[in-house]
């Protein structure tokens, strides 16, 4: 990843902070061939062929396992010769890179499938290489863990997305996740019912959003500042209550409660992905619903149209009779509730008691996922999954003892996000009016 960005400078773009710059159609340069992606693909393909394949020591095996507890039928562990597999996968990557060069040359557009396919093959090459001669590479566990780590990110990214599409920058996702985790744990523990926590978590997230919008909409305080400060406030309040009330009587206030897994018949019996996707607790299913619903409603409903209007051009929205500030407040509260649900995954979703600062910066990664997903629910979903995957990969790799330092893998999502924001990976543009308080004349 850190390799070379192609030295072609990215086309000078109007900085998104420029006043009104976003409204102008960014004079899309159709004529120029964009050589950026083919170059990146080629470099990655050659690097993986060389590093993973040709330069690696031979004679080792990599064993993939697919087992999980309740499989309909069991796939036996799959041992493959590391070097040969890596060379083969590297060649596939080279072919794919050639395809992208050809496509650029003939001005064809490659669909979304292309980066996905390239990514999957690349990841498999990496896995084969990194687990060579080490323990077994548990594929199902890798994916399941990745999804689990992604759930709060996905909820958080949806929260940020709804807020920013409405024109409110929400840096407080971190705080909302933490508040959701806290209240879910406390309520579930006090009522001895995990589902009670499921109702409490969105309230906690929305409460943080209330403070955010109170200062942002009523007093026009800079939204980034409130967000940062709210994160500190939530950490302070939850840690304080944790150190006092929750530790004085953990049996009442902080007993572990877990949402039970609800396997979906048939679907959960699909090998490998079945147990990963369809043997989950209700929170994960809710996440599917939220993502799909947002994807549809933001772009296909009156509510979504209004949301995008007040986020892009509030004055125009006001002119046609949309109450900008009321919509912003309501949307941000909804967003807060979504983030609160995500926070619940830390505690009742994973069967853990509440711990100090247990959101551990996930809110900021969610923000990154939202940006990488270009303020688009499906995009943010995949970005969040990517982040969750790389994080779990780091965990798994350090567990099975590979030479790859886990810290560098953990760093990767952030580096990708920086590159994305700087315009090296795709082009991202924020809603035009985000962060600007709307003051009707």
């Amino acid at each position: 990843m850190s390799t070379v960005a192609p030295d072609r400078t990215p086309q000078p773009r109007d900085p998104s902070s420029g006043p009104g710059g976003a409204a102008a159609p960014a004079a899309a340069p159709v004529k120029q061939r964009a050589w950026k992606y083919p170059v990146v693909y080629s470099v990655l393909a050659l690097a993986s062929l060389l590093v993973f394949g040709l330069l690696a020591g031979g004679g080792k095996q990599t064993t993939f396992t697919f087992a999980s507890r309740n499989d309909f039928f069991t796939i036996p562990p799959l041992p493959v010769p590391s070097k040969a597999t890596c060379v083969a996968l590297g060649l596939v990557l080279v072919v794919l890179a050639a395809v992208s060069i050809w496509a650029t040359f003939t001005r064809r557009r490659l669909g979304v499938w292309f980066p996905l396919l390239f990514g999957i093959v690349f990841v498999f090459a990496f896995l084969t290489w990194s687990a060579a001669g080490a323990g077994r590479m548990p594929v199902t566990a890798l994916l399941a863990g990745a999804l689990a780590l992604s759930v709060p990110l996905i909820f958080g990214a949806m929260c940020g997305l709804v807020g920013e599409r409405s024109g409110i920058i929400n840096i407080a996702i971190e705080g909302q996740l933490l508040a959701g985790a806290f209240l879910a744990a406390v309520v579930a523990s006090a009522l001895q019912n995990p589902y009670a926590g499921l109702f409490a978590a969105p309230i906690a997230g929305a409460l943080v959003a209330v403070v955010l919008t109170f200062f942002a909409v009523r007093y026009w305080v800079d939204q980034i500042i409130i967000g940062v400060v709210l994160n500190v406030l939530v950490v302070g309040v939850t840690s304080f209550l944790f150190s006092t009330v929750l530790t004085q009587d953990p049996a009442t206030w902080n007993a572990r409660q877990q949402l039970p897994n609800l396997p979906i018949p048939l679907l959960s019996d699909i090998p490998v992905i079945g147990p990963v996707l369809f043997n989950q607790n209700i929170l994960v299913y809710l996440m599917y619903v939220v993502v799909v619903a947002l994807q549809i409603f933001i772009f296909r409903s009156k509510w979504g149209l209004r949301m995008r209007a007040i986020g892009e051009h509030p004055k125009a929205a006001d002119t046609v009779g949309i109450n900008v500030n009321r919509n912003r407040v309501l949307n941000t509260l909804l967003a807060g509730a979504i983030a609160g649900l995500g926070g619940a995954f830390f505690t009742i979703g994973s069967g853990l008691a509440f711990g100090k600062e247990m959101s551990a910066g996930q809110g900021y990664i969610a923000l990154a996922a939202m940006i990488l997903g270009k303020w688009n629910p499906m995009g943010a979903l995949f970005a969040a999954l990517l982040f969750g995957f790389s994080k779990n990969l780091a965990n798994v790799l350090s567990a099975i003892g590979t030479p790859v330092p886990s810290q560098l893998l953990l760093m990767l999502p952030y580096v990708v996000t920086v590159l994305a924001v700087a315009g090296f990976v795709g082009r991202v543009r924020a809603p035009a009016a985000e962060g600007k308080p709307y003051i009707s004349q």
Partner: protein, 431 residues
């Protein structure tokens, strides 16, 4: 970012705490020609006007914010205390008990906070009684340095959330050059300080260059760089050339004595030269912003980048320079930790200094002197919090609550005025 479209809305000019509408409320009131043309406090006697200025001035808002925050913190302390909760059980029988116990709990905690930060009147010797004050200064040093960096960014219209990463990089560089090189006494710590500043400057410079060249939002980039710096530090602490071999906890080797910042006071005190560096840095930032051409450009870009560009100021150059100087200051903050107090690099060496620095800069209203004082206050909170935690069992986390409420309130002066029924600053309030 540019709020220049609504100058006629009087409340708007005081809500933003960034550099964009810098003139303090009071001075803005008199000087803004847009506010209907009527001068401040139209026609009232001068004495009345002065009183009004004091009542509505920003410093009063700051003081009242601290008061409100302490009060809210007190409520939380009382609410979480088992003794207080017990009195609630028979509240209607004997309500007095509740108030007495609650008052005792809260005042004990805050008295401990005071004793741990200013002067311990219960200490046995004078040295121990005075030590808390110097401890506050020690804790304040990195906060002031990093806070100055953040404030500089705010004044120039840049939201540098990356203080944390810059502090980490500064600490990393200071630590490495503190033990890796053998240099003569004074030169060594000076060199390590310079390298720490370079480290912070590099980290902030990345964000500055990306912002200037590609328009990448500095908020996002600096947040990401914070995390990257954290992982970089924990990676380095696993590397054999970096970490101490004997230590179980990941930590670097201890720096040489020559690299340690010399103490300002004899042994039981930990106050070190870093505090002098913080004072010098405050003076430097003041000079830079208020007296230098470069600082004028910084402020011009902060107020209105378009106007600054029209006037011939290179906005991208200013962006990069501001970030580099801000990062250097934050890096010095990291150096104060490693070379001044810790003596080595650990995973938690930066603590939450970088994030606290944001609140320090906000509380200081992005002014050098204000940031200095705010840093002292938060340093005092930090130092006092430890004594409070050990003596009264009130967790130090309450300090976070108080700090964040202070900043929230300071960011919204109209809210504080509403709470205390203060007059709004003398200017025509738009409908």
């Amino acid at each position: 970012m540019t709020n220049g479209t609504n100058p006629s809305d009087a409340p708007g000019t005081e809500t933003s705490v960034t550099g964009q509408e810098q003139p303090a409320d009071t001075s803005a009131a008199g000087g803004t020609p847009t506010a209907g043309g009527t001068p401040a406090a139209g026609g009232t006697p001068a004495a009345n006007s002065v009183l009004r200025d004091i009542m509505s001035g920003s410093w009063l808002v700051s003081v009242l914010s601290v008061v409100v925050a302490l009060a809210l913190g007190g409520v939380l302390i009382a609410a979480a205390d088992p003794d207080v909760q017990a009195t609630l059980g028979y509240f209607f029988a004997r309500p007095g008990d509740f108030f007495i116990v609650a008052w005792q709990t809260v005042s004990e905690a805050y008295m401990a906070l005071l004793r741990g930060s200013i002067f311990d009147w219960e200490a046995r010797s004078l040295v121990r009684a005075v030590r808390p004050f110097t401890e506050s200064l020690v804790a304040a040093t990195p906060l002031i340095l990093a806070g100055l960096g953040i404030a500089l960014g705010f004044r120039s219209g840049l939201f540098n959330i990356g203080g944390q990463g810059q502090v980490v990089l500064g600490a990393m560089f200071a630590g490495y050059f503190g033990y890796a090189l053998g240099l003569p006494p004074v030169i060594h710590f000076l060199f390590a300080l310079v390298m720490a500043a370079v480290g912070g400057a590099i980290w902030a410079g990345i964000a500055g260059v990306l912002k200037a060249r590609t328009g990448a939002n500095e908020v996002i980039v600096t947040i990401m760089l914070n995390s990257i710096a954290g992982y970089l530090l924990s990676y380095l602490l696993t590397q054999s050339w970096f970490k101490a071999t004997s230590s179980a906890n990941p930590a670097s080797r201890t720096i040489f004595d020559t690299a340690a910042l010399p103490p300002l006071l004899p042994d039981p005190f930990r106050l070190h030269l870093g505090f002098v560096v913080a004072i010098l840095a405050t003076l430097f930032v003041w000079w830079l912003l208020e007296r230098s051409t470069l600082g004028f450009e910084f402020r011009a870009v902060g107020e209105n980048p378009d106007a600054a560009r029209t006037a011939g100021i290179s906005v991208s150059r200013v962006t990069i320079l501001v970030m580099i100087i801000a990062g250097a200051l934050a890096g010095l903050g990291g150096a104060a930790q490693v070379l001044g107090t810790e003596g080595k690099l650990t995973g938690g060496v930066a603590g939450t200094i970088g994030f606290d620095a944001i609140t320090v800069a906000l509380l200081g209203r992005s002014r050098p002197l204000g940031t200095f004082l705010a840093g002292l206050l938060f340093g005092a909170f930090k130092a006092g919090g430890y004594l409070m935690q050990s003596q009264t069992g009130t967790p130090i986390d309450i300090v976070l609550v108080v700090q964040s409420i202070i900043v929230l309130l300071i960011a919204a002066p109209p809210l504080v005025r509403t709470i205390f029924r203060l007059p709004t600053p003398a200017k025509k309030v738009a409908a």
